[in-house]
């Protein structure tokens, strides 16, 4: 496999996405909302006067409120004040699965643009006549979606860490983020979810005609993330270090199986029939 070919495909696909507003606007807006605006809101909330007065009138007991959480979490809550409860619980624990929206969304958008978009804009035939192998075409296009998905996720994580620690310092009194469960989430589950987004979108793209259809169908994977959010909020699942490693491993196995199907589907013989 020639690296120069992969680089050319990645560069071209990203250039095209960057010139499609429908594709890149969500990639910029969603992390800003999820990883800057919302954390800022939850961190500034405890410092507002009306919130502090309503908090004292409810006699909120942090440990009682978070009793649904596992022992590992409870031990971290020792000595926490009611004012610290909201940022700690919401931004440190409940928000964790929400983070997976980022790799999923970016990979689905770029993969839909890259695979279904070529078909929609009738540029696929020209690409199939290029002196590339099927494997080079697939790998280049998959990486064009995977790399920005992982890159944007890491960038969002850095942004989130900065926001939670800077705005949270007056409330928490220390640099408190990231919590241990976030490490497998970012470096083990995130790439697996990004690849899952790419592969599912490739499969969907083989059956639909437009970028939008592929993006919307591939976006159904967000249900998976919502399941984790609900599971974590209700105490059914706790995304700690061990669970994170386990879920990640499961996702990588699913990715491997899907990759085999995608490689079989992504051949000139199959694709030329869809031009």
């Amino acid at each position: 496999m020639r690296i120069s070919i992969l680089k050319a495909i990645i560069k071209k696909d990203l250039l095209e996405v960057s010139r499609n507003k429908t594709a890149w606007v969500p990639v910029v807006v969603i992390p800003l909302v999820f990883f800057v605006v919302l954390p800022a809101f939850f961190l500034l909330l405890p410092r507002l006067t009306f919130f502090q007065s309503s908090l004292s009138s409810t006699n909120l007991d942090p440990v009682q409120v978070l009793s649904i959480l596992p022992a590992e979490v409870k031990s971290r809550l020792a000595g926490i004040t009611a004012e610290q409860l909201i940022p700690f619980a919401i931004l440190g624990y409940f928000f964790a699965p929400m983070f997976l929206v980022m790799p999923l969304m970016v990979s689905s958008i770029v993969a839909a643009e890259s695979f279904a978009g070529e078909k929609e804009r009738k540029t696929l035939e020209g690409l199939l006549y290029s002196p590339t192998t099927d494997a080079e075409l697939f790998t280049g296009k998959a990486l064009a979606a995977l790399l920005p998905a992982v890159g944007f996720s890491f960038l969002s994580f850095i942004l989130y860490t900065i926001v939670t620690n800077t705005l949270g310092y007056p409330v928490m009194g220390r640099l408190w983020f990231p919590l241990p469960g976030w490490w497998p989430l970012i470096f083990w589950i995130t790439p697996a979810v990004a690849l899952l987004g790419v592969l599912v979108t490739v499969l969907v793209s083989a059956r639909v005609a437009t970028f939008m259809e592929a993006y919307q169908s591939g976006g159904m994977l967000v249900i998976l993330v919502l399941g984790l959010v609900v599971g974590q909020a209700t105490g059914i699942i706790y995304l700690g270090v061990f669970t994170g490693l386990l879920i990640g491993a499961l996702l990588w196995v699913v990715d491997w199986l899907l990759l085999r199907v995608c490689l079989r589907l992504f051949s000139r013989k199959v694709l030329i029939g869809k031009v």
Partner: protein
């Protein structure tokens, strides 16, 4: 350069190619003619290794397209019916991308892109997005892309079918320049017979996946219309029963009357003076008598008629 031997290809229940056998020689402009659905595009796709043949053998540069497709595509260029360009990218960005895919070294690529843009008269707008170009300009960019890596063989699949006459002429002029000046082999698929007549050294006529005939236009004309074709123009009125009066003219094979014009097929040019005498004797007021070569269009429709096709 290209060889197909008894190649067949079926899609579901449709037989796209039915025992196709042909050879394309190095340096010639070869035309594959036929109506839509004749199997022209299928032939190009097979030769580029996009899918395998069901049976028969084929080779390009002596390579097997199914096993060495990327090597063939590296040495060949293609212009498809639609330009298939990335419309959000500029002409230069499109060409650079294909140059990268073709493995042109970076230090040479910038110069090569600039050269082909100049050749096709695109330099002044090379930084604009392709979406803003006319259809003719897009097809010129696509032709520039096909030639970027200086291929030995160029496949042209209906290169002008979606263009207006002026743009089609521009593209045809470019194709003629490329074929005559560079001596590269061109495999042209078209149903535009005027285009083929102007460009091709040899042609093959196909219908429903079958080869009807192959040869130079002169060879096909000699085979289908032996002798000489003479065009006669009359001043009106044309005498009644003129066809009947000419029936004993020496060497006469056939005569087609059309208002003040007749197409007369004779066995030999030596029969022309006798034809003129017979016309005068029949009181026809002859304005012009001109022996002329048979057009590719006449050959094509004669072949289709002989094989049950329709005009």
């Amino acid at each position: 350069m290209i060889q197909l031997e008894n190649v067949t290809k079926t899609f579901n229940t449709t037989r796209a190619l039915d025992g196709l056998t042909l050879t394309v020689r190095p340096g010639e402009v070869f035309g594959l003619l036929g109506p839509n659905g004749a199997g022209k595009t299928t032939t190009i796709r097979l030769l580029n290794g996009l899918f395998p043949a069901d049976s028969g053998s084929l080779s390009v540069f002596g390579l097997n397209p199914q096993e060495q497709g990327s090597e063939i595509r590296a040495r060949a260029g293609i212009l498809t019916e639609t330009p298939a360009l990335y419309e959000r990218l500029s002409a230069e960005e499109n060409l650079r991308f294909y140059g990268d895919l073709c493995g042109i070294p970076q230090q040479k690529l910038a110069q090569r892109v600039s050269d082909v843009l100049d050749l096709f008269g695109l330099s002044s707008r090379s930084h604009e997005r392709v979406a803003g170009y006319s259809k003719g300009m897009k097809q010129r960019v696509a032709l520039a892309r096909a030639l970027l890596h200086n291929p030995e063989l160029l496949f042209l699949d209906e290169p002008t079918s979606s263009l207006d006459p002026e743009s089609a002429q521009q593209v045809n002029d470019l194709i003629r320049t490329i074929s005559r000046e560079d001596g590269r082999t061109i495999f042209l698929c078209t149903h535009n017979l005027t285009e083929a007549q102007r460009l091709c050294d040899r042609v093959a006529v196909m219908d429903a996946g079958r080869l009807l005939a192959i040869g130079t236009p002169a060879e096909l004309a000699a085979r289908l219309f032996p002798g000489v074709r003479v065009e006669v123009e009359f001043a009106l009125p044309v005498p009644a029963n003129l066809t009947q009066k000419l029936k004993d003219c020496p060497g006469l094979r056939s005569i087609q009357m059309e208002n003040a014009r007749a197409l007369v097929d004779l066995s030999d040019t030596a029969n022309i003076p006798a034809l003129v005498s017979a016309l005068v004797a029949a009181d026809a007021r002859v304005m012009r008598v001109e022996p002329r070569s048979v057009t590719l269009e006449e050959i094509y429709f004669e072949l289709r008629k002989n094989h049950g096709g329709q005009k």
